[in-house]
């Protein structure tokens, strides 16, 4: 069955026997997922959709089920996200609303048309993050083995060990994390990849949080810290929060939006962890033998440099 036929069958199951799929096209996705755009035409209505799916050979139906559950919970609680529609029949993709807007960081940071949005994004993302973190992790996500911080450290050590490659700087980061554990917290739903490149934005500001594939049960401070990593400031090194604002601005906006008062020390802990995680991702990605993934392997030294500054 072709993708068009599969989606048509799914569209009929969700929109009725008369529904049909039009204008199916591959879209530029990311390094980790395939993306297709299409319309479902049902009677007089036309629904703009995307399918985000695992690339061949890297299917993760468990992960997609958890991601869809998280998207549905977020959508039901007024978090700005694309309306989730259905899990593809083979379980490897999610069909959701196709949104209009811009998600390319360099345009968002430089183009004049996004000047107003730039002024609002730190506050709006803080508010959206607080809304996500008010949610309990859906049952479809794996239950953490431990409190969020020690569970995250153990997972990173295991991933690093699996690669069999030595990375002393990442180990120093992990060692620092073990010595600076924050107070144990009840896990909440965490987006897991909150950064400028995963926001849909228009001239008025935030449209939606995209790319929920790394969502998990964790500590909300994790998302705030991830949004501050230097690797996605795109040259705005002096503006840690999304490449746009200060750490204080992000933490204040988050608390004002009903999030808990995250201390600078907690944020630092999760920034170090985020840098270790990004370093481990670089190391792991390089084991996929495409040019793009191999090239990412040589980026591990960037978060290594940044974390060595943070633990000094």
């Amino acid at each position: 069955m072709t993708l068009d036929e599969a989606l048509s069958a799914q569209a009929r199951a969700h929109f009725g026997a008369g529904a049909r799929v039009e204008a199916l096209v591959p879209l530029a996705g990311g390094a980790s997922r395939e993306l297709y755009g299409f319309d479902v035409v049902a009677g007089a209505e036309r629904h703009a959709m995307v399918l985000r799916r695992d690339p061949p050979g890297l299917e993760e139906p468990e992960g997609r089920r958890g991601e869809l559950a998280a998207l549905r919970a977020a959508h039901a609680h007024a978090v700005p996200v694309a309306t989730p529609h259905w899990l593809s029949d083979d379980g490897t993709g999610i069909v959701m609303q196709r949104l209009e807007g811009e998600a390319i960081p360099r345009r968002l940071l430089r183009d004049e048309r996004y000047a107003t949005a730039r002024g609002r994004l730190v506050d709006e993302v803080a508010r959206a993050a607080a809304a996500v973190h008010a949610l309990a992790p859906p049952a479809e996500l794996p239950a953490p083995a431990d409190a969020p911080a020690p569970a995250a450290i153990a997972a990173l050590e295991a991933q690093l060990d699996e690669t069999g490659e030595p990375h002393p700087a990442l180990e120093l980061g992990l060692r620092w994390l073990r010595a600076h554990l924050p107070a144990a917290r009840e896990p909440v739903l965490v987006h897991g990849d909150l950064r400028l490149g995963n926001l849909m934005v228009d001239e008025g500001g935030l449209v939606a949080l995209l790319d929920w594939e790394l969502c998990h049960a964790g500590d909300g401070a994790e998302d705030l810290a991830w949004a501050c990593l230097r690797s996605w400031r795109f040259g705005n090194d002096e503006r840690p929060a999304l490449g746009l604002g200060t750490r204080e601005q992000l933490l204040d906006a988050y608390a004002q939006a009903g999030g808990r008062r995250v201390t600078p020390g907690e944020l630092r802990f999760w920034e170090v962890l985020g840098n270790v995680r990004w370093g481990v991702i670089c190391v792991v990605q390089a084991r996929r033998r495409t040019l793009e993934h191999l090239a990412i392997g040589r980026r591990a030294c960037e978060p290594e440099w940044d974390l060595l500054g943070l633990v000094a």
Binding site: A28, E157, P166, H167, P168, A169, E171, L172, L174, R175, A179, R230, D237, G265, R268, E271, L291, E292, L294, A295, R298, R299, A300, C301, E302, E304, W305, D306, L307, L308, G309, L310, V311, A312
Partner: protein, 129 residues
């Protein structure tokens, strides 16, 4: 022994051609892959060039770290094997009492990687705690 041009000169030229001549002629959605290819050629060119940091410096740093950890290196391990021993020593807490020295040596290690993969990245430092 090969004639000139050297490997790094050839790779610089390849990177320049990919990014400067090929990419602009391609449709937008195909340019990303070509830019990645150009960047890879640039990185390998630096790695093979006259200014590339060498393995002896990394060996020496790892040997100093192992000495601090109280586990002096033998003579015949290569740099990767020494990094393995240092990584294990850090995880086991054997460098906890030498934090500042360990940090300084690892910063030099990372600087050498950045000099090839991302020159200039070390001109900015995240604020210390």
């Amino acid at each position: 022994m090969q004639d000139r041009p050297d490997a790094h000169e050839l790779l610089d030229a390849l990177a320049g051609w990919l990014a400067g001549e090929l990419a602009p002629r391609l449709p937008r959605e195909e340019r990303f892959g070509v830019r990645v290819a150009a960047n890879v050629a640039t990185i390998v060119g630096r790695e093979l060039g006259p200014d590339a940091p060498g393995e002896p410096a990394e060996r020496e740093r790892m040997e100093r770290l192992l000495a601090l950890a109280g586990q002096p290196a033998g003579g015949d391990d290569d740099a990767r094997a020494l990094q393995r021993r240092v990584a294990d020593a850090i995880r086991a807490g054997r460098l906890d009492g030498h934090w500042a020295e360990a940090l300084a040596l690892l910063r030099e290690s990372v600087r050498d990687k950045l000099a090839v993969a991302r020159p200039g990245y070390d001109s900015f430092e995240e604020p210390a705690g």
